[in-house]
Symmetry: D4
Subunit: 132 residues, 8 copies
């Protein structure tokens, strides 16, 4: 469990603010909070993600060691996001798959790719106690 | 606001699992959830951070474009973490400072450095509506 | 008291979507959810306000019979919004005043004006039971 | 998400306080908080709606640019209100319909008309993330 | 602690529905939910009180064995209600007094009298664990 | 909706403290908080009921104008209490019945009788908005 | 953080059910839920403690390795319990003291002794993150 | 119901800290908070359990008079823990059984044994009001 009043915040690189806003707000359904000349700040599923204009863009995205996202306690939320991702034709890095299959910490996941090659993983665990 | 039941999750690189566990659990006061041969998973202020064993370690940490952390709604929580960081002699990357001073989105921040040069920023905003 | 999961929604006219987004998002600190050719939808203090492109713009705004806004239970929230309104130089229709002074339902209020002359009233009651 | 402790408030015109109270309280099931010679204040689904006695009554109601209402996160709440509206024979301006059908922000809606031609829209979204 | 979703309900006699509505809604600040020819139902501090038209009216009210009311966890809420009672000149049956003074279960209380001689007691305990 | 932190409190007569404790605690499953020579105080479904030793006992109980109880938002809670009442063979004053059948405010109810003839009504509404 | 809906439960020995009920309910202010010939079950600060009639009573209580109690997040709750313990003259095993003084996990504590020599420790941490 | 902000805490003996950590963290899925030379502290289903290095280890565990654990309000949580216990091959002291069968306070339970013979009981009640 976590508090409702605090927020996790993450800063990531983007090569273009318009492309980032198009992906995160128009497509992924996050909300735009503030925009500056060099960054945009987003309400990302209730937490804060900030996209900073940068040259440090990865050519080929790989899932490890860096990615971020949300783990949904309720499977319907994970399913609805999967549905939105397909409906809005978002770029998939990984189609839905199982990690740690057969183990108590088994979970389902899919991974999207943003325009600057940041990878976003969305998970749902069979057992919510395993969400950490 | 965010839900209590979902969690943000972030994967970051670490060069050594013991060093990561010492920093995050023993020093920073997070909780160890699971440990594998190649990663540890943590309850990081109510969200999930996973440290993956990796060679991709930054030599010289810089605050932009990548960092992560928590924004505390209540200043006492930010102060107590600052106090714990000093009490336990954690490595500071930035002593407490103000960002956007004089503006509505003004906030206080300090930044810690983990053993693999990941930077952790902890913030408190004068106006909680600006936390995104 | 109200639920956290439902939202109030209000549709109002705007003469220009950019002017509306500038006022509500950049200045007032609300969040942009969706933008279409003829409307923008906003997370307005946790509820939904939709600005529709329209010719039906009032020349001279008057407080009655139509206005909308938020009543804050905690005075600090009302004060911080007043401070942000001054800091960001938002157009005031009414400087802070008391309504029903001396009565149990006494409350403080200030009123802002958006670019299309919609009036926004923000209140704080001395007695929260009187918020309805 | 929104707080439980604050309230949205909306002021609208009514041509007759008894007609307004009959519609909102006796028929729609809202609660009467306070009544003055020139206004009534209501607990409207947990938010505040104030009906002000006024001459500014629209002859022919149109859905745009002005209407208000509630978006219910849980479909059963939307269904029960639809059921109550039929049971109590409330005036419908629009029978239930879909807006943005086939899109991620698809939602169901019906619209009631109050005695002074204010239009009340009640919505349910297929995806709660789209409620803003 | 109690749930937010259930309500306590109490049925009491009243000799006159208008007198009851005047006392509970106009004076005490409760909300009118429903009115029939023989009863009114009220949102009484979040619970339900129903006043039934009846001949069974007590001539002289006495505090024991029957009375009802609310115990406020936070002293400010108790104080504000006391203030409203004085401001609106409600009939006091007992001015504020202490019960069980010097004991762990010590609490402050005042008692109002409704038009049909029902007695309403409002309490605040020094130690919230003693509220039962 | 109501707060979790406040409690409704009700004082009722009992002819015998042991009989009251047996009914409310041993049978009905409420919790005993405090016992004095002349009263017992109970955690009654999260609110406070106090049974005062008294001669004022009604010979023949009638549902109007006085009774009290709980309205459950979730039907399973109402059903489980009904089941417990039958399992523990509690005295029924009214077997389950419908009140206001066919109307929006329709609800199910059953009524128990305590040893001093106080009547306890437990309700569930088809539409939770009608719980007041 | 923990859920509101689950409960921790602990079974401990008691040499006498009346002595246990006198200590836990009459003195410590917990609530009696159920009583059998061989055990009593208690609402102990929101969790469940069950006292089982037993011969396995420790002659001389020692704080380690076994004790139980509550850690209060808010210091006022810890202080009020300390005050109640003195007011009601409960047996202290340890007067208030500090453990881990000077360290981030520093906390205040006092320890009571029940009639069967079970030891109850009540704590308050300077930093709530250290409560585990 | 219980608060989210406080924690129950329990101190128990362990003969070996590594064995305790392996059982509670690696197998049972609790989280390690702090480790000292003579104890480990755990986030045990949201409450605190501390394992103290000790000689006082019971040779043969018996369920009475001492055991501890969690009562889950929602049966799915109890089922998932049962599933995890089987999946990870934890030592069962008692396979799932019913206690008080046929009575209102009927509940299901299973009991695990930790490496130092402490017994952990996990329950689910048919009627949540009986959880105390």
């Amino acid at each position: 469990m976590r508090t409702t009043s605090d927020v996790f915040h993450l800063a990531i690189p983007t090569h273009d603010l318009d492309a980032a806003q198009d992906f995160y707000v128009t497509k992924l359904g996050c909300k735009l909070a503030r925009r500056y000349h060099d960054r945009i700040t987003l309400d990302f599923f209730g937490d804060q993600v900030v996209c900073h204009l940068s040259d440090e863009i990865v050519d080929e995205p790989r899932l490890y060691p860096r990615h971020f996202g949300v783990t949904f306690r309720h499977r319907e939320d994970w399913e609805r996001l999967l549905h939105l991702s397909r409906t809005r034709d978002l770029p998939f890095f990984e189609e839905p798959f199982h990690r740690f299959a057969g183990r108590a910490e088994e979970h389902e996941s899919f991974v999207l790719r943003d325009p600057s090659h940041n990878l976003l993983e969305f998970k749902h665990y069979a057992d919510p106690r395993m969400m950490y």
